[in-house]
């Protein structure tokens, strides 16, 4: 592999890591708002290390949901990493249990996107490890900054933080609804359905359960097409 291609891959990985690190601040702040302490926020970023699931866990807990509902939401959102793993396995072909166990920890949206879009297999591996390392570092560091920062706030700043949490979820959702994402129209329909189901159920079910129940909206996506489009 050429030096130019290598450095381009590294540059992209580091740029992405820095950008994703900013989400880490928001996560640390959201965790604090939900009543988690700094250690719990840090353990989530270090061990769970998959943004949407982490946000879902603290989001449901923050809304007064049970531990079971919070864990359920996090796991449902975590299922897409299983599919990423299947896609990455032939590319990374981690040999042995230990290597596979280490590789698995960094199987997330960003590392998968970077690895599968690399021009060849060697660069794909480099992209996976470089993106994983940068994001892992930035995400954990920024979680700490966010959690400590939010813990020091009060009054109007709390109201600001309350408004930041739904905005952060919207920012996670947004790219899926945008033109250019595979089947963006269908994604929008499912998203609208999920929001409606959750709101309608809110008065009647224990807090947090309405979020899990919203997966029924996936039915709005309809049957798989005979020749499925390639998703990101």
């Amino acid at each position: 592999m050429s030096t130019a291609a290598r450095s381009a891959t590294l540059r992209d990985a580091i740029g992405l890591g820095a950008a994703v690190g900013l989400y880490g601040v928001a996560f640390g702040a959201a965790a604090d708002a939900a009543g988690l302490d700094v250690w719990q926020a840090m353990v989530l970023s270090a061990l769970m290390f998959t943004g949407a699931s982490q946000f879902a866990l603290v989001g449901v807990l923050g809304a007064g949901g049970s531990a079971a509902a919070a864990v359920g939401s996090a796991l449902l959102l975590g299922t897409r990493n299983t599919v990423y793993g299947v896609r990455l396995a032939p590319l990374l072909s981690p040999r042995g249990l230990l290597r596979r166990a280490a590789t698995a920890h960094w199987v997330i949206d960003e590392t998968t996107a970077m690895a599968v879009s690399a021009p060849d297999r060697q660069l794909g591996r480099l992209a996976f490890w470089a993106t994983g390392a940068t994001i892992y570092l930035g995400w954990n560091l920024m979680t700490l900054v966010g959690a400590l920062g939010a813990a020091a706030l009060g009054g109007a700043a709390r109201a600001a933080l309350d408004a930041v949490v739904p905005a952060a979820f919207l920012a996670l959702l947004w790219p899926r609804l945008r033109k250019g994402f595979p089947e963006a129209q269908v994604q929008r329909r499912v998203a609208l359905g999920g929001a409606v189901v959750a709101l309608v159920l809110t008065p009647f079910v224990p807090s947090g359960v309405q979020v899990i129940a919203a997966v029924v909206a996936v039915a709005l996506a309809g049957r798989p097409r005979p020749k499925a489009e390639e998703g990101a």
Binding site: L47, A70, N81, A104, V164, V218
Partner: protein, 105 residues
């Protein structure tokens, strides 16, 4: 919720999410690559994230509550539509929420 329950949720969910990742690298691809599995997995994030947006923006416990959070969300949507960077989106949403809080006391 007690500290122990909170820690249990944090640890169980973390281990569970890790095992989901590990499963992807370990199971035969054919299990996961069935069309309907791919279909469900492709659309679960949209349904769940939208539900979380709605619940976080306009509910409190079992009630619908309209306050600065919804204003913040509207501002965030506008900023996202204008392709503002993530941090700008969050700052604007937070500022809108704080402003409503100050104005409405």
């Amino acid at each position: 919720m007690s500290g122990t329950t909170l820690w249990a949720a944090v640890l169980v969910a973390s281990v569970g999410c890790y095992l989901l990742k590990l499963a992807g690298l370990s199971v035969p691809a054919a299990w996961v690559e069935q069309p309907w599995v791919a279909r469900v997995v492709d659309f679960v994030p949209a349904a769940l994230l939208a539900a979380l947006v709605a619940v976080q923006a306009v509910t409190s416990g079992h009630d619908l509550v309209l306050d600065g959070r919804l204003v913040g969300l509207a501002v965030a949507a506008l900023a996202l539509a204008l392709r503002a960077p993530f941090i700008v989106v969050l700052l604007l949403a937070g500022a809108a929420g704080a402003l409503v809080h100050v104005l409405t006391g």
